[in-house]
Amino acid sequence: MELLLAIVIGILFMSATYLMLSKSILRIIIGTGLLSHGAHLLILTMGGLKAGSVPLLSDEAASYVDPLPQALILTAIVISFGVTSFLLVLAYRAYQELGTDDMEEMRGTKTNE
């Protein structure tokens, strides 16, 4: 299971990196979305998988899965939502102002010397 997941994570990261390296701002944003998926799974894998039951305390369960990664990921999911929406609006506004979604064309160094 961990091996399988590790490969899935690797592929998610690979795909995310490839997207982020492209020039289109949309692909970059999608890349960050994939990257956060990969990171979430990575954190979860680190803590060990299916080592116990759901982390809701009850009398029946003898052991539980690690709750800490889950808490971390929960935070991460919400934050990445905030960041993704920020990036989206940034892209949308940049497109409106500059008329392009190409990162190379958006480079601003030539003007601010």
Binding site: L56, L74, V78, G82, S85, V89, Y92
Partner: protein
Amino acid sequence: MKQNDLILQTVTKVAAFVILLFSAAIFLGGHYSPGGGFVGGLMTSAAIVLLLLAFDLKTVTAILPIDYKYMIGAGLLISSLTVAGGLLFGVPLMTHAYRYVDLPLLGHISLHTAVLFDLGVYLVVVGVTMTIIQTIGESE
């Protein structure tokens, strides 16, 4: 969403309230079962987004005349007050208090200051999501 989506609207009228109720349940039960401020807040926003999809922005603002930016502020305020509240009682920040009480009808339940904190989280999440969606929606 200009055309008249009768089916969607009819379903939404029912579904939105079901989702809202469910989100409230999930929010309140967060300490004992899956849920909490984040999920509850997101689900509430999802219900409002559904309303937005079925009807238009104007109708929804008429139904829910809320400035979501203030909701963010209120949420942050509640949370930080809960965090700081412990100081009044001479205990460190973030110390929660709880006790179990027996109420008529509801039975044996616990009252917990963590719910207040979670309420702040809930409000912030709803506020943030709706501010984002609404601002983008308005800009079209």
